[in-house]
């Protein structure tokens, strides 16, 4: 079919808008990447867009990667992500399976009991007092337990389990399988798509979490990476970092570059994992939204 002039104009304009949007999305990250390896003095004199690094240096990366706070932040985040996500997925899967079984009398009442918490909650302060009262301040428990189940995730998983044909379960029951066998040998193996999505959602949540850490933790050796970042990026205390490193005061210039480098160091893992996770994104939203 031949395209009319209108069509061509439409398609071109569309492509231009989308290209501009993509550039606007990516450029801030490119800017940071270029700036992180630029020479501090040249960068401070530079104004405007950065299209390539100016005057390569890698010193900032050395400083950041040797910083004890960044390293312990990384380590803590990895612990919180792995422990937290494992517990999240196990507890959510058990509950979702139990709530997906037909013929269990109380399951709908329990479902109501759960859904209610989506609409109403005690709020920040009572939760904080609870965690404090349970003696969980400065412990991994405070990072993992208050968000053990995401209710939306539970609903997604339950709906997915309900979609698995009942005949499979019935024939297993005839062969003498109990609920545990059915869950672990039949339901879970058939649910890998939704489980990978859960791992993605919970995992990203733990990786990015900082607020709980900021109110429940006050020992800096327990801080997750994101909280360490706050001190460097938002509270603007790169000086602390230079002091911990025993580096002489190199002025405002170096601390600017250190900021960019810190952003890179904290973002690169996401960029590396991103291509592998990407195929789950759309699937995750679909499972969550269409069936939710």
């Amino acid at each position: 079919m031949k395209r009319s002039v209108g069509e061509i104009v439409f398609d071109t304009a569309n492509a231009i808008i989308l290209c501009a949007l993509t550039v606007a999305t990516l450029y801030p990250f490119l800017y940071v990447a270029f700036a992180s390896v630029s020479s501090p003095t040249e960068l401070s004199g530079h104004h405007g867009l950065l299209l390539a690094p100016i005057g390569i240096q890698w010193e900032a990366y050395k400083l950041v990667l040797q910083n004890p706070l960044i390293l312990s932040g990384y380590k803590n985040t990895l612990i919180y992500v792995s422990v937290g996500t494992t517990l999240n997925v196990i507890v959510t899967a058990l509950m979702a399976y139990a709530l997906s079984r037909k013929g269990v009398l109380l399951r709908n009442h329990i479902m109501m009991f759960i859904v209610f918490t989506m609409f109403f909650g005690g709020g920040l302060i009572p939760t904080y007092l609870l965690v404090k009262g349970m003696g969980m301040l400065n412990s991994i428990g405070a990072m993992v337990l208050p968000g053990l189940i995401g209710t939306m995730n539970l609903i997604i998983m339950r709906t997915y389990f309900q979609g698995i044909p009942e005949a499979l379960e019935e024939s297993a029951r005839l062969d003498g399988a109990g609920d545990w066998v059915i869950l672990f040998r039949i339901i879970l193996p058939l649910s890998m798509p939704v489980i990978s999505v859960m791992i993605l959602y919970y995992g990203v949540g733990h990786w990015n979490a900082w607020f709980n850490a900021s109110i429940y933790l006050n020992k800096s050796e327990l801080f997750p990476l994101q909280l360490v970042l706050r001190n460097i990026l938002i509270a603007n205390s790169t000086d602390d970092m230079m002091v911990t490193l025993g580096v002489n005061q190199k002025g405002q210039d170096m601390s600017e570059v250190i900021k960019y480098t810190t952003i890179m160091v904290a973002t690169v893992p996401v960029l590396i994992v991103y291509p592998f996770l990407q195929k789950y994104f759309a699937k995750g939203v679909m499972i969550g939204a269409i069936k939710g």
């Binding site: 859904v115 990026l233 938002i234 973002t267």
Partner: protein, 322 residues
């Protein structure tokens, strides 16, 4: 789309016979499905401990809570904290800020992913479409801390945005210190971060539209633009409405972490919202009862908004949450 499922197998026990018979049925069920209930146990305890106990804890909004006395033994003071809050200088300020920030986010942030989805839907080259999609999702996965770090840096006096302003003949300023710009920065950075991710669901809805409708529109002489208006948009309308309801239900509590990270005393005037105020009064100033009262007030508004939005949607369209 439904959130709760009604199921015939779960009639209330005891509705037709006596209470004793009901208890008997329940006991048999607990026994027969004991492993099911065992599986529920950790999750059930989680909801009791981390959701229902804090709801009980929220009673400190009506008490004069002191940590030494504890929640139970602190004396009741009725609505004192609510009255203090309603009368305080901050009341109207944070209500106004909360509403305005959310209204702007809704007004500009909500349609943005729809527009992107419509544009992407018109792209015929798959590789181009896929590339744009993949790249625009990316910021969604970057932590709020990094995003705020970027915002702080780019809006600083020597930052990139100021460089651009100077090109256009403006003057340098620390943009985050200007109260009148806070909402603009907050809303536009939010769009930047979430536009791609938000478009996924609309693209899914778009792929479900019957191709024949387009063919028919084509025969009727509708151009591409006309087709978007008459076929595509109506096709995704139910999805738009459901997402709009969900969004309105959470009108009052969006973007709290980002606000805490970005605001400062010189922008409190436009940036301080209910949740950041709760955080400051409660966690920072340890004013527990007062802060809980405000938190409770916030939850109530949210609840009412959600119910209201759902009612409206039921009335004006076929889609609703329950």
């Amino acid at each position: 789309m439904e959130i709760t499922r009604k199921d015939a197998s779960a009639e209330a026990p005891g509705s037709r016979s006596s209470l004793a018979a009901g208890i008997d049925i329940l006991r048999k069920d607990l026994l027969r499905n004991k492993y099911i209930y065992l599986m529920m146990l950790p999750g059930f305890l989680y909801y009791i401990v981390f959701h229902y106990i804090p709801m009980y804890g929220a009673t400190i909004a009506f008490k004069q809570f002191t940590p030494a006395a504890g929640i139970w033994d602190s004396p009741w003071v009725g609505f004192k904290h609510f009255q203090d809050f309603f009368k305080s200088y901050y009341f109207w300020r944070i209500i106004k800020n909360t509403l305005l920030i959310n209204l702007y986010s809704l007004l500009f942030g909500f349609p943005a992913p729809i527009l992107l989805a419509l544009l992407l839907n018109e792209v015929r080259k798959m590789w181009f479409k896929k590339t744009v999609q993949t790249l625009t999702y990316l910021p969604h996965f970057v932590s709020v801390m990094i995003i705020c770090g970027l915002i702080v840096d780019f809006t600083s006096k020597n930052g990139l945005i100021n460089d651009i302003i100077v090109w256009f003949g403006g003057t340098r300023d620390n943009l985050l210190m200007k109260a009148e710009l806070f909402r603009t920065i907050f809303v536009s950075s939010g769009i930047w971060q979430e536009i791609g991710w938000g478009s996924i669901i609309y693209l899914a809805a778009l792929s479900g539209i019957d191709q024949e409708l387009y063919d028919a529109a084509n025969i009727d002489g509708a151009g591409r633009f006309r087709q978007i208006l008459s076929v595509t948009l109506p096709g995704i309308m139910p999805t738009i409405i459901i997402l709009l309801i969900l969004r309105i239900g959470h009108m009052m509590d969006v973007g709290f972490e980002k606000i805490i990270l970005l605001y400062n005393p010189s922008t409190y005037e436009t940036a301080d919202v209910i949740s950041s105020f709760v955080y400051r009064k409660g966690i920072v100033d340890a004013n527990y009862s007062y802060s809980s009262a405000i938190g409770l007030f916030n939850s109530l508004i949210n609840f009412v908004l959600l119910i209201g939005a759902n009612k409206l949607s039921k009335k004006f369209s076929d889609s609703s949450l329950w």
